[in-house]
């Protein structure tokens, strides 16, 4: 607690971004889907599928990376005495924001992490997504400037902060009890994909190890993709942005080395070319992340260090994935889902409602 945290320095955050930028394309090389070495939204969607919360057959797998993110952050928080169980800052609002963040992300087909990984893999559609993300976050900063906030959290029982880490540990135990069986789409309580992105994954132990490592580093460095853009827009601060850009540059270089770079708009892996909805989907996500105070990765790391409100946001995202696929809101390589467009509109209206009404003058 007393020494200087080197990961929170400029070079620290750049190093962490570079690390993620190298590891994500490597995970792709080792089996993860195209331009999806790591995608927090997609992987939480796969977890929802693995649990049967939705039944989209191509996206069902309990992703060990997500488990690792939370547990890695928990380990770092305990080692450096930063574990602080806290909760009570408008949890239901955070849940709703999580739901719509996921709905928006699945219209674009990726979270901010995957947006840069897609760009680093040559997918031009990611440019629209990143522009949309920036636009959504910019709207969020306008609310922040006008006093928007979700209120204070309270210190709570240690156990409360353990809830999401324990849920993740439970997922891991389920995977060990009911591992994937070749050619079967179900083992015990878990669902698995036989084809599509859900069937593509790096070996469990490797995914988990990388997840733990990134969770540890991200907790120390406070790596946040939404915060990167928000701080630049709101304060002119480029601290977090330098980490985000390092991720982009190093992922690009790693893709070049691994021959995974393919430039273009059409035929990109797990992507569609409907520019307006790539933009709007990520705008919705960006606004929801800004209102909730963190990108989907950061919410996992916060949950790992005891933030129960971030944990509620994560649960909102997992439930949101179920809703997205059950309601036909999620996009596919063919384009946006049947009800994807109205869902984005409703999501933006809900976020604007929250932004306009949850204001408190700082006394």
């Amino acid at each position: 607690m007393n020494g200087k945290n080197i990961f929170a320095t400029r070079w620290g955050i750049i190093g962490v971004g570079a690390c993620i930028g190298i590891l994500a394309p490597l995970l792709q090389k080792l089996g993860n889907p195209g331009n999806m070495g790591i995608c927090v939204a997609c992987f939480e969607r796969d977890i929802a599928g693995g649990l049967g919360l939705h039944r989209a057959a191509v996206v069902q797998y309990i992703r060990p990376e997500i488990i690792g993110f939370v547990l890695g952050a928990l380990i770092a928080a305990y080692l450096f005495k930063e574990y602080r169980p806290r909760a009570g800052s408008a949890p239901i609002v955070r849940f709703v924001l999580g739901v719509f963040a996921m709905i928006g992300a699945l219209v674009f087909l990726g979270c901010p992490w995957r947006a840069v990984l897609r760009l680093a893999g040559g997918d031009g559609n990611a440019i629209l997504g990143l522009l949309g993300l920036t636009f959504g976050i910019w709207i969020g900063t306008l609310f922040l400037k006008n006093g928007y906030n979700l209120g204070r959290s309270q210190t709570t029982h240690t156990t409360a902060g353990w809830m999401l880490p324990l849920i993740m540990l439970g997922f891991l135990v389920l995977m060990l009890i009911f591992p994937q069986i070749e050619g079967q789409d179900k083992h015990g309580v878990l669902w698995y994909s036989l084809k599509g992105p859900g069937s593509m994954h790096a070996p469990l132990l490797l995914s988990l190890t990388v997840g733990l490592g990134i969770g540890f580093l991200a907790q120390r460095s406070r790596f946040c993709t939404m915060g990167a853009i928000r701080d630049a827009v709101l304060f002119g601060q480029t601290h977090l942005l330098s980490g985000f850009l390092a991720l982009l540059v190093f992922a690009f270089l790693t893709n070049l080395v691994l021959s995974q770079f393919k430039m273009g708009f059409a035929g990109q892996p797990v992507a569609h070319t409907q520019h307006i909805w790539n933009f709007a989907g990520m705008a919705l996500s960006g606004l929801a992340f800004a209102l909730a105070g963190g990108c989907p990765g950061r919410q996992l790391f916060l949950a790992g260090e005891g933030d129960g409100d971030a944990a509620v946001f994560v649960m909102g995202m997992i439930v949101g994935a179920g809703i997205s696929h059950n309601f036909g809101l999620a996009s596919s390589p063919e384009g946006v889902g049947t009800y994807g467009i109205p869902a984005v509109v409703v999501g933006l209206l809900v976020c604007l409602f929250i932004g306009f009404t949850m204001r408190r003058k700082s006394a």
Binding site: M1, N5, A8, F80, E82, R84, R86, S89, L144, K145, N149, L150, G151, R152, S153, Q154, T155, R222, C224, G227, R230, D231, L234, F235, Q237, H239, G293, G294, D307, D309, S362
Partner: protein, 72 residues
């Protein structure tokens, strides 16, 4: 008398916004900020330094920290 900003329990980026608001008022050469996470401690310190303030003192207080910043 130094101004005090109580940012305990508030999530990112509220502590920084509140600190910058207080700095913008320009009334005090010394500002005390109360935060309850290490992330907020780092963010507030970084923001203060970018505004020409020096982080004079950081002491643990309760579940968090008391940060004293002074105009250099």
């Amino acid at each position: 008398m130094a101004a005090t900003v109580d940012a305990r329990g508030l999530s990112c980026p509220q502590p920084v916004i509140m600190t910058l608001d207080e700095i913008k008022k320009g009334q005090d050469k010394e500002i005390i900020i109360l935060v309850d996470t290490d992330t907020s401690k780092e963010n507030v310190s970084r923001a203060a330094e970018s505004q020409g303030f020096a982080v004079h003192n950081v002491t643990p207080e309760g579940e968090g920290y008391r940060i004293t910043i002074t105009k250099g």
